[in-house]
Symmetry: C2
């Protein structure tokens, strides 16, 4: 479900790296559904899904059935008000006994615990590596490595747009509105970038991290959020004089989640620039482990494929 | 096998976090063996193993038997000449059908492919997360995440001692011999630090990375190695003037492994300071993923426990 940039990139990777070994029976977008019981020929797929032979202007929800589909890959746009339509598709799929991979932050930020419980009740897997720091495998690491230690806190630079703006302010002394305009022209920021600059996107991701890694049972409304709008060039200049800068951080510590601009030393591993994302995890034995990667774009495909491989390993192989 | 800093720290974690759920039947060091078929009482274990009731001055090799042991945790000192005694213990254990977890770089740098083949032949698991970047889960990530992408290259700052020296030279302008002396006094460097400063330790780790992640089938003798001894304060000062510094790097790219001091921008994610280690992986979809953590000490316990948990999950649970 969802056939935008990420859906197309996933299909391209499936075609090039998994040709023949993975069958895609159904692809849908907001306009309709392409369903082929024997598998869609990924080599013949036009750029516009609606131009494919067999595309019909019907909802894909009736195809969420074990007879035709094993795994739903849910890539519809994030909606933080009610999580729709993604949350409806995820629930329908799980009810039908399908495993689910999603890159959609809305459903998880709004109803993490409910969705995990529903997955457990139905005996299906719900995987979401792509939702936070697209190319940073934080949930895989938690599942296969960090459970051997006791997590203490999580800090993250989780929003590429605001990090790009703060980076341009720091290194070029560019005023915030110009940096934002530049980010829009480069396709880094959306036309409506409020979710980014007001810290909402960082808060959504922090909630998912806290619930998944620390069983925090929190919702977006539990997060104290301060965005970057009040950060001045003077403040960044003063930080720079001390070998520091200001970064927008999501913080999970002492049972609380907050999002706020924080001073950080330029030499600190977490202090990454441009559109990079970074997540720093502190655990009892481990001390600090920092993961740095791309937050969006093609790198997210690796997260989706890794979730699909995890499901294959746990349910379909051996 | 091996009851130094790491062995003691592992026993402490097993006692505190897995009390009752894991039975330790045998602990050995170079002087002898403590074996209790019903399980050693970890709460009663003296600091000196040889003072434990039941300790005998015999080789532990006869206890590598499925009747008494499921998993060997091999923590003897690294020997890069012939890998002994670790490699003998690992082979004896695998022949007896035991799974193995090791933190010992020697056997893997000398005979990676042979050991992996032997493990496969015997149907046992050989895990080695602790060997490279103690607190950096690079092999776990490869197994559970990176296989969904195509790896292109690996770069790493893999030796804490040389990184500490270069950091002191960069930030304090301290001459190399003083920085090395300081590292010795702080317990960061060994008395004989040639393996560190001449790049051998970095080369050993690079060989393990290349063989494990890129199936390179390389040996230590295949690595072109340059250490840090010829780096002058003048060179570091000149780099600093350009917003850069010099770091000792292990490089795996285009089928070749090398170790050499390289210029790197101070803002680059891989540019970490002090005793920190960092590994940067480039893959086709993912782009760059950088992992930063502690290279040694208590953080290595998380790697050992994670390997033990992996074996438990794959062979003993469900």
């Amino acid at each position: 479900m969802g056939y935008g940039f990420l859906g197309r990139a996933l299909v391209k990777s499936l075609r090039e790296s998994y040709g023949g070994r993975v069958k895609v029976t159904c692809i849908a977008n907001s306009r309709g559904t392409l369903f082929k019981e024997g598998g869609v020929d990924l080599n013949q797929l036009p750029a516009e899904l609606s131009e494919a032979v067999g595309f019909r202007e019907v909802s894909p929800i009736d195809y969420l059935d074990k007879r035709w589909v094993d795994v739903l890959v849910e890539l519809t746009p994030t909606n933080v008000i009610d999580g729709r339509p993604g949350i409806d598709y995820i629930r329908a799929a799980m009810r039908a006994g399908l495993d689910v991979v999603t890159a959609n932050k809305g459903p998880l930020a709004l109803a993490f615990d409910e969705l995990m419980r529903e997955a457990e009740d139905k005996g299906v897997l719900l995987r979401y590596e792509a939702t936070v720091g697209g190319g940073i495998p934080v949930f895989t690491l938690h599942r296969y490595y960090l459970k051997s230690d006791k997590l203490i806190s999580i800090r993250g630079i989780l929003n590429g747009t605001s990090n790009y703006i703060l980076t341009r302010m720091h290194f070029e002394g560019m005023p915030m509105d110009l940096a934002l305009e530049e980010a829009r022209m480069l396709g880094i920021a959306e036309r409506d970038s409020k979710l980014d600059t007001e810290g909402i996107d960082t808060a959504i991701k922090s909630v998912i991290l806290a619930n998944s890694l620390l069983q925090a049972k929190k919702r977006l409304s539990d997060v104290k959020i301060t965005g970057i709008n009040s950060i001045t060039l003077d403040a960044i200049h003063a930080a720079k004089e001390m070998g520091m800068t200001i970064k927008l951080m999501g913080l999970v510590e002492d049972g609380k989640i907050s999002v706020e601009p924080r001073l950080i030393r330029l030499n600190h591993p977490l202090c990454v620039h441009g559109t990079l994302n970074a997540i720093d995890i502190i655990a009892e034995n481990l001390g600090s482990l920092t993961l740095i990667g791309h937050g969006a774009g093609k790198s997210t495909v690796t997260a989706l494929l890794s979730d699909l491989n995890d499901i294959a390993r746990l349910k379909y192989i051996d």
